[in-house]
């Protein structure tokens, strides 16, 4: 304790006298004059983070590098998720706080005024101003030449886009006619809504600003179809493939794909400092090595990663634990933040008429759910440490009630068989039930094959459901193909996890429990229909689903929390009663491997994409290396 206090004093002295010490990676550049000193790089008012005992952390020092393992070049996006610099972001208690923004004002979810930090700069040193918002709004999002196929759903409140205004060079305003409660959470999402872009850089790829000859040359050089594609490719900020694109994130990509090793260096102009005035991130460099996902646990166990949660699963825990001492890391167990670790989704929009009829009978879905021996799955695959539950929110959510988790989730094959008999599904002499059109019930469950856990769960369910007279077959396909097959209605049932955000408050959108998105596995066509305002997909012809959409509409225009809570409760009740997805277990654990040199990584945490962004909400820029420079 005293040590840190002393350190703080020393740091303060440094800040006061000679300006903060430069990060090892940048010291030389600053010394040679290629980069201005830290004081000139920071915004006038940087965001000051409390990194001390009050947040169970220790102030660190700059330097060092972290190695991580990823399976695919697409995983570049994980750096944006982990980095989690957002206009507005969640803190650990999931409250919205301005981050890149200096402040914001929200008038009844209709008028949003965003104030930028004076002196805030992009990673290339160019100023970050209202022009970057105007460019994105006028020249990209709503430019008819860009032909983006319409605005994102989030921009449309009551079907109408906002009015965008630049108030002054550091202030912008979005005004909707009706409330848009989705706007701020979208800015804070793990995959944020892009409402700003590095306009100074990107204008050279926009027909409105660029010299036509040069633009043509660029299009030819990048081998793309037209300048619009070029613009989209160069502006890709969520998956930072373009090393030249300026960013506001803590680390910036230095490597052009394709590569098996991506290096991310610290953003010299990053806007956060710790309470001692040390610019974040502490870590100078992230190194992302690409490896086959199936050998990532093995590589992690042999100490090839300093910080790893992705591609590890609970079954690897024992193995990873064995390597702890040898390779100087610690395995922590974080709780999976999804609503359900494994869930089965009957496709209510399947093109197979016979199955569609059966799936839409709530008795069938309830019978399937009651036919699963969750206790056995929990014991066999999760050492009994998970919680058996239907697919709903987690017990950690204020919206959780016991009856939601228990709904049709207890193993009762007799009751399940009785329901199926009541539906008139006869058994063939071989014991397999027959569909109303006479075909045997061969139920093909689609999986991405990414996790062996899903396969094991399916194997156990196969025998459980055989007792109900349903034969289960598994087909695995690659994730993109899996998704497009589901969306096309050519699948019967798919296995995936429950809702992303397992512990929402009433302020979070209930959209994952409502047909709103084409990628929802239980009702892709209805999701398409709702999200396109009826121009594609199928009209909802199932009453409880329509009820959900109506409730969602009410939630969108709800003004007070009490009303929102009531709507949430109704939505969850309908989902529990209707068993739109069959949850198996929840609150499963996932190993997180952390090098013993890496400080400030929480011992316990929630592993979830949205809203936590895995390490994002835990502020990865506050992680630091104890022995920077050693070992790597």
């Amino acid at each position: 304790m005293r040590y840190f206090a002393a350190l703080a004093v020393v740091m303060m002295a440094l800040v006061g006298s000679a300006g903060a010490e430069e990060a090892p990676l940048l010291a030389e550049l600053v010394a040679s004059g290629k980069l201005p000193p830290q004081a000139e790089r920071l915004p006038d008012e940087p965001r000051v983070m409390q990194i001390d005992e009050s947040t169970q952390r220790t102030p660190g020092k700059q330097g060092g590098s972290i190695r991580m393992l990823m399976a695919d070049q697409k995983d570049l996006r994980m750096i944006t998720v982990y980095g989690y610099a957002r206009l507005i972001g969640y803190n650990r208690s999931l409250e919205l706080k301005p981050d890149i923004l200096l402040s914001y004002e929200n008038e009844k979810n209709r008028v949003f005024t965003l104030h930028l930090r004076p002196g805030h700069k992009w990673s290339d040193g160019s100023p970050f101003t209202a022009e970057d918002f105007r460019y994105q709004w006028e020249d990209v999002l709503t430019d008819p030449d860009m032909d983006r196929g319409g605005l994102d759903q989030v921009f449309l409140a009551g079907g109408k886009p906002p009015k965008f205004e630049v108030i002054d060079p550091l202030t912008v305003r979005y005004t909707w006619e009706t409330p848009n409660p989705l706007f701020l959470p979208a800015l804070a999402g793990a995959r944020p809504l892009d409402i700003y872009a590095a306009s100074a850089y990107l204008k050279q790829f926009h027909a409105k600003y660029a010299d036509p000859e040069q633009l043509k040359a660029e299009v030819a050089k990048e081998k793309v179809k037209d300048w619009q594609s070029l613009q989209i490719r160069m502006a890709r900020s969520y998956r930072p493939e373009n090393p030249d694109l300026p960013t506001l994130q803590p680390w910036m990509n230095m490597t052009s794909p394709p590569s098996n090793r991506f290096v991310f260096d610290r953003n010299p102009y990053y806007h956060r400092v710790d309470q001692n005035g040390v610019q974040l991130p502490y870590i100078d460099r992230l190194v992302m090595n690409i490896a086959e996902s199936s050998i990532i646990p093995a590589k992690t166990g042999s100490g090839e990663s300093d910080l790893q949660e992705r591609y590890l699963s609970f079954t690897d825990y024992t193995f990873l634990k064995e390597g702890e001492e040898r390779n100087n890391y610690t395995v922590r167990l974080w709780t999976v933040g999804r609503g359900s670790a494994v869930a089965l989704f009957p496709n209510l929009n399947t093109t197979d008429a016979g199955w569609k009829e059966v799936f839409r009978d709530v008795r069938f879905r309830r019978a399937l759910s009651m036919g699963v021996d969750r206790t056995q799955i929990n014991q066999v695959l999760f050492a009994g440490l998970a919680k058996e539950s239907a697919s709903t929110v987690l017990p950690g959510s204020p919206l959780f009630r016991d009856e939601l988790g228990e709904a049709y989730a207890s193993f009762d094959p007799d009751a399940a068989n009785a329901l199926l008999d009541e539906m008139g599904l006869k058994r063939s002499p071989a014991g397999v039930r027959l569909l109303p059109d006479g075909r045997p019930m061969d139920l093909i469950v689609e999986s991405t094959g990414e996790s062996s856990m899903e396969a094991d769960v399916l194997e156990l369910i196969t025998t459980d459901w055989a007792d109900l007279g349903i034969k289960v077959f598994t087909r695995t396909s690659q994730r993109d193909i899996f998704r497009s097959r589901v969306a096309a209605g050519s699948t019967l049932m798919s296995v995936w996890a429950g809702v992303d955000n397992g512990a929402p408050t009433a302020d979070f959108s209930p959209q994952e429990f409502v047909p709103t998105d084409p990628y929802q596995l239980q009702w892709p066509m209805w999701g398409t229909y709702v999200s396109t305002h009826g121009s594609a997909g199928e009209k909802i012809d199932y009453e409880p689903a329509q009820k959900l959409v109506d409730l969602y509409g009410q939630w969108l225009s709800a003004e007070d929390d009490d009303q929102k809570r009531k709507i949430w409760a109704q939505i969850l009740d309908i989902n529990a009663e209707e068993v739109f997805s069959i949850g198996i277990v929840t609150e499963t654990l996932v190993p997180v491997v952390v090098s013993n040199n890496l400080m400030n990584v929480p011992a316990e945490g929630i592993s979830s994409f949205d809203p936590y962004g895995y390490f994002g909400v835990y502020e990865m820029d506050s992680f630091w290396m104890k022995n920077a420079g050693q070992g790597n």
């Binding site: 199936s294 050998i295 646990p297 093995a298 166990g301 079954t315 690897d316 825990y317 024992t318 193995f319 634990k321 064995e322 056995q376 014991q379 066999v380 050492a383 009994g384 440490l385 061969d442 093909i444 062996s452 094991d456 194997e459 156990l460 196969t462 025998t463 077959f473 598994t474 087909r475």
Partner: protein, 389 residues
């Protein structure tokens, strides 16, 4: 001597003394039985002397015999899961307890979940003596999928366990699964080789014997088939097999696929052998005597290179077994719930199996042994098929 005029017959005499083939040289009984022995008998004599081949033949014979009685030999049913004994290590059979000889028994396990590293720890408890039951009634099964029964050669003690090779992640006995897996893995080789032998001899034989247009066409076809990269082709073919087919059809489909791809090499050899042999005098003699093509090929030509065929077949069977193992290992071949050695190895295909549960790799052993045995057997048979050499 001058020739008689007008082509009159030569003068000759015929003796009426009985013909005695041994008049000049008296054969011993041993020689007689050697010279009069049939081809098969000669092969057997020769083969008998090749000890590794003989042992291999007996070993393979026993294995094939076992596939007829897998249900009886395996201590557990193929699908029995023991959720209380997941990843249990192998139990060893003991004969002595406290220095006293007893009927074979295993020590029961005390199970504890180590909460520190979540490892399932099994400690043999020397107080729990679980005597193995013999010729007993155990897990229920349908013999050959038809007759319900529960008879086993060996069963665990009542309430006890008998995991001689440990259990897998769902608590299934690995030994039982290997025994059941032999049924698929050993026969898939036979069926596949059968298909490829028939195709190879038929197409190669016709191409070699008749030549001409058929020869040209079949040779080009072989070139096309051989030029197709095999793994993508397997992938495609495995994907074509409908998912709802019963596993046994899938199994048959894979066999036929393997066989359909494998005949080309054999067909080429058969053709070249026939091209050479059909010019031999004894073939001309048979043709002059009016033998049919089929008779000439099957009676006169094929025995001429039977040794080669046997060698090819016995080497092809282990290739097929390995092929099935490879395909299943890659996830393209057989799928659970069918259990073959390849499927078992697929399930052991992760770092956990290697580091923590090495007994899951036991199916490797029968694969190696069978492949070795087939190679020895093929060696012995090839030597034996040319007994005069």
């Amino acid at each position: 001597m001058t020739l008689p005029k007008n082509a009159a017959p030569l003068a000759h005499t015929v003796t009426d003394a009985p013909f005695d083939p041994e008049a000049i040289y008296q054969y011993t009984d041993a020689q007689k039985s050697l010279f009069e022995a049939s081809q098969l008998r000669l092969m057997w004599w020769k083969f008998r002397r090749h000890k590794p081949a003989l042992i291999s033949a007996i070993f393979l014979g026993l294995l094939y015999l076992s596939t007829l009685f897998s249900e009886v030999l395996a201590p557990y049913n193929l699908h029995t899961r023991h959720s209380g004994s997941i990843y249990a290590p192998p139990q060893s059979v003991h004969l002595f307890h406290d220095g006293q000889l007893r009927a074979p028994f295993v020590y029961g396990y005390d199970f504890k979940l180590n909460m520190e590293n979540l490892k399932r720890e099994y400690v043999p408890n020397t107080d729990k003596i679980e005597t193995i039951r013999w010729f007993c009634s155990g897990d229920d099964y349908d013999f050959w999928g038809v007759i319900p029964a529960s008879f086993h050669i060996a069963c665990p003690a009542e309430g006890g366990s008998l995991f001689l090779l440990g259990t897998d992640r769902l608590g299934r006995d690995v030994l039982s699964r290997i025994i059941y897996g032999a049924r698929i893995s050993l026969t898939i080789g036979l069926l596949g080789v059968g298909v490829s032998l028939v195709l190879g001899i038929l197409i190669g034989g016709m191409a070699g014997y008749y030549g001409g247009l058929f020869d040209v066409l079949s040779q080009r076809l072989i070139e096309v088939i051989q030029s197709i990269p095999s793994i993508p082709l397997w992938l495609a073919l495995a994907a074509i097999l409908p998912i709802t087919w019963s596993p046994i059809f899938v199994y048959f489909g894979i066999t036929v696929i393997l066989g359909l791809l494998d005949w080309t090499g054999l067909a080429r050899t058969v053709r070249s052998k026939l091209l050479a042999l059909r010019e031999e005098d004894y073939v001309s003699a048979a043709q002059v005597m009016g033998a049919s093509s089929f008779r000439i090929v099957s009676r006169h030509l094929i025995p001429g290179f039977a040794s080669h065929l046997i060698a090819t077949a016995t080497i092809a069977i282990p290739t097929m077994i390995l092929g099935e193992t490879t395909l299943s290992f890659l996830g393209l071949g057989l799928r659970a719930p069918i259990t073959s050695w390849g499927v078992l190895l697929t399930e052991a295909q992760n770092i956990n199996a290697v580091a923590l549960y090495p007994w899951l790799l036991w199916p490797v052993l029968p694969v190696i042994l069978v492949v070795l045995a087939y190679n020895f057997l093929g060696d012995g048979l090839r030597d034996a098929a040319d007994p005069y050499k």
